[in-house]
């Protein structure tokens, strides 16, 4: 067990290293980050001014602009080579300093602290929706496989899977918020209850297509499990069908769902970019879109890293969950 955890921690760091290195390089290749900090002042030939070769065009006080540029360079280590900057950035990260946003000089950690809760609530609710819908749905479909309900749900799940997020979101918004006014159409953050309530529609938008794919997997695995001898044995023991379904068949049939649950975390975060836009949720998804557009790379990198950590940690938990699902995994 200790070795298992250790391997995972090493993997986590390897993933983080790869992800941040790629992200860091990409952000630096996209343009001179200095422009994002000091704007047109980046054009100044401060070295020339210092050497007296170029005339300082600053009107009010000589060399003040060059001081600004120098300060910015020092703050963001922009006077160093990219690899050096990467290492310095890593060092800052390690001490919990995520840097400051180029846009408004806010510390990145504060930006994330403000935006993360919304996105987390959205993602958790979306997964609750997806599992909460998929498990009963898959169980019923498998219990009466190839009957009317099962066939209907095949159609329904393929429908849900082929509708893009934004379209589903708009349809739900129109029907449930505008037409029948069951849920609010706009994001509310006055209190937690209102927040959760206003997140229902976004969570459905994200969770329902996922529920459809979980349902397909669960149904297939359950049908296979229900043909196993131990299910026959449970029937021969005289246990009622529902008990057999939930106490015997469900647990060994959850592997695919759990695997995809872990993997889909990444896709879900991607989906939240769109959904946060549609429903006006000020979350991480919207933040990263703005940050990418504005080349605000401390924010982008921090979010990318956050997503990577989440992804690795969730998949680590999924692996732990496997060994709860099947004791044979523990033996290995």
């Amino acid at each position: 067990m200790a070795r298992f955890v250790l391997r995972r921690v090493v993997l986590l760091f390897a993933v983080l290293f790869a992800v941040t290195f790629l992200g860091f390089s990409a952000m630096n290749l996209l343009g001179d980050p200095l422009v994002n900090v000091v704007g047109v002042l980046a054009e100044l030939d401060c070295e020339g001014i210092e050497a007296g070769l170029v005339e300082d065009t600053t009107v009010d006080a000589a060399s003040r602009d060059c001081d600004t540029v120098a300060a910015a360079k020092a703050q963001y280590h922009l006077d160093r080579a990219v690899p050096v900057r990467y290492v310095l950035w890593l060092g800052d990260m390690a001490t919990g300093d995520f840097g400051t946003s180029f846009q408004n000089d806010q510390p990145v950690s504060q930006v994330i602290r403000e935006k993360l809760p919304e996105t987390l609530i959205l993602l958790v609710m979306a997964q609750i929706v997806s599992l909460g819908v998929a498990i009963p749905w898959g169980v019923i479909a498998a219990y009466r496989a190839n009957r009317a309900f099962d066939r209907g749900s095949t159609v329904a799940s393929f429908g849900l899977l082929s509708v893009p997020n934004f379209a589903l979101g708009v349809v739900l918004l129109y029907l449930l918020a505008l037409r029948w006014q069951v849920f609010p159409s706009a994001y509310e953050s006055d209190n937690l209850g209102g927040l959760v309530y206003s997140m229902v529609l976004p969570a459905l938008t994200l969770g329902l297509p996922l529920a459809a794919s979980y349902q397909r997997l669960l149904r297939t695995d359950l049908i296979t499990t229900l043909q196993e001898d131990f299910v026959h044995m449970a029937r021969a023991k005289g246990l009622p069908p529902l008990r057999i379904m939930f106490r015997h068949a469900l647990r060994p049939s959850l592997f695919s769902v759990v695997t995809v649950f872990g993997v889909s975390t990444g896709a879900l975060i991607g989906g939240s970019l769109v959904v946060e836009q549609i429903f006006g949720i000020p979350g991480i998804g919207r933040e990263i879109v703005t940050a990418v557009i504005r080349d605000d790379f401390p924010v982008v990198l921090a979010i990318v890293m956050l997503v990577a950590v989440t992804f690795v940690v969730i998949n680590f938990l999924v692996d732990l969950f496997y060994s709860w699902l099947d004791p044979r995994v523990r033996a290995r």
Binding site: F230, A236, K237, G238, L239, P240, L325, R328, A331
Partner: protein, 359 residues
């Protein structure tokens, strides 16, 4: 039933059981009119090759067939119509009155539940035991079926046990609610030969101690020998011969029974003695011809064997067989010599001349 000979009312009575499975290739006639009686405390062995319908018969009794199966006929347990009980989803019948042990202990235990829990589950559901009591009883049951260190085993998972131990767990599970009828479907086929005898002896002992009745399903007549009171030999979904064990082993009438007996090795056979395999393969169960199903593989086969399915004749409860030219009778002898003289049976199976066969 005037022709009934054995005394009393049978515990389990099967009459004219038919089971069909619709498939894409056509309807499979898995069981075609099987009838038998089982009396309290007795063991009935149902013997046959794979595809003979013996397992389907067992599954029908336990209501374990897939929904697509079409079943007709009567199954009566202690005066109650079992199929009606199953249809009404009566609680505490299966698993309490009658239960089943499956062929493969590697797959008949739930891999993700501790063995103790799997045994305790039945006790809790049917007998309303508390969790603690049920686990204690489970441990006791493991002891009864001869599992060493039962206290440790209850909290182990199936994969931590050997095949033989697992089958003992399955037996313990089946016995938990003290059933009156145990159906054992090839209980030793999937375990080591060295373990087989132990398991069979265990089943026999438990049956005697608890006054259970047992249906022992096997493809191996050797397994039935010495353990069954009565034997029913099945072929192509029918019972072709049934009798008390002694009669069946020493005075069999059906050529198939005879062939089955010849195909098992005996300890007193000379070294390098060749076994006589049964020629050909079991018949297709889709669209069976209106003839004796064994005729194509039978060295006694005559023209009349191909003219219709022979009826099971004789007295219920006594020796009955479905053959027009039974082995050990004059008709059988005549058929055999006619075939030997011709070198071929009426169904086209080549036969060696008189005195033939391998030495």
């Amino acid at each position: 039933m005037a022709e009934q000979v054995a005394a009393g009312v049978p515990l389990l009575s099967v009459r004219d059981l038919h089971v069909q499975f619709p498939t894409e290739r056509g309807t499979v006639n898995a069981v075609n009119g099987v009838s038998f009686d089982l009396y309290e405390g007795k063991t009935l062995a149902i013997v046959g090759e794979s595809g003979s319908g013996k397992s389907v018969t067992a599954k029908t009794l336990m209501n374990l067939l897939p929904r697509t199966a079409r079943v007709s006929g009567e199954v009566t347990y202690d005066g109650k119509d079992v199929r009606a009980l199953a249809a009404e989803k009566v609680k505490h019948f299966f698993g309490v009155q009658m239960t089943m042990v499956f062929q493969d202990p590697m797959t008949s235990l739930n891999p993700v539940k501790k063995v103790g829990e799997q045994i305790a589950e039945t006790l809790r559901y049917h007998l309303g035991r508390s969790r603690g009591d049920a686990l204690e009883e489970a441990e006791e049951l493991l002891n009864v079926v001869g599992i060493p260190e039962p206290g440790r085993r209850v909290s182990q998972y199936p994969h931590e046990l050997s095949g033989g131990l697992r089958q003992r767990v399955v037996i313990a599970m089946a016995l938990a609610c003290q059933p009156r009828l145990l159906i054992a479907d090839e209980p030793t086929t999937a375990v080591d030969v060295t373990v087989q005898k132990h398991l069979l002896d265990l089943l026999d002992e438990l049956r005697r101690d608890r006054g259970m009745s047992m249906i022992l399903i096997t493809h191996d007549l050797g397994v039935a020998h010495g353990r069954a009171d009565d034997v029913a030999v099945m072929y192509a979904g029918r019972v072709v011969e049934t009798a008390d064990a002694r009669t069946l082993f020493f005075d069999m009438r059906h050529p198939y029974t005879e062939a089955l007996l010849r195909s098992i090795p005996r300890i007193d056979d000379p070294v390098h003695h060749r076994l006589d395999p049964i020629p050909g393969r079991p018949p297709e169960l889709v669209d069976p011809p209106d003839a004796c199903a064994f005729a194509p593989r039978c060295i006694y086969a005559q023209a009349d064997c191909l003219g219709g399915v022979p009826e099971l004749s004789g007295l219920v409860g006594l020796h009955r067989f479905a053959c027009l030219h039974p082995t050990g009778t004059e008709r059988g002898m005549a058929a055999m010599s006619a075939n030997r003289a011709a070198g071929v049976t009426a169904a086209g199976l080549p036969v060696a001349g008189s005195g033939g066969g391998s030495g």
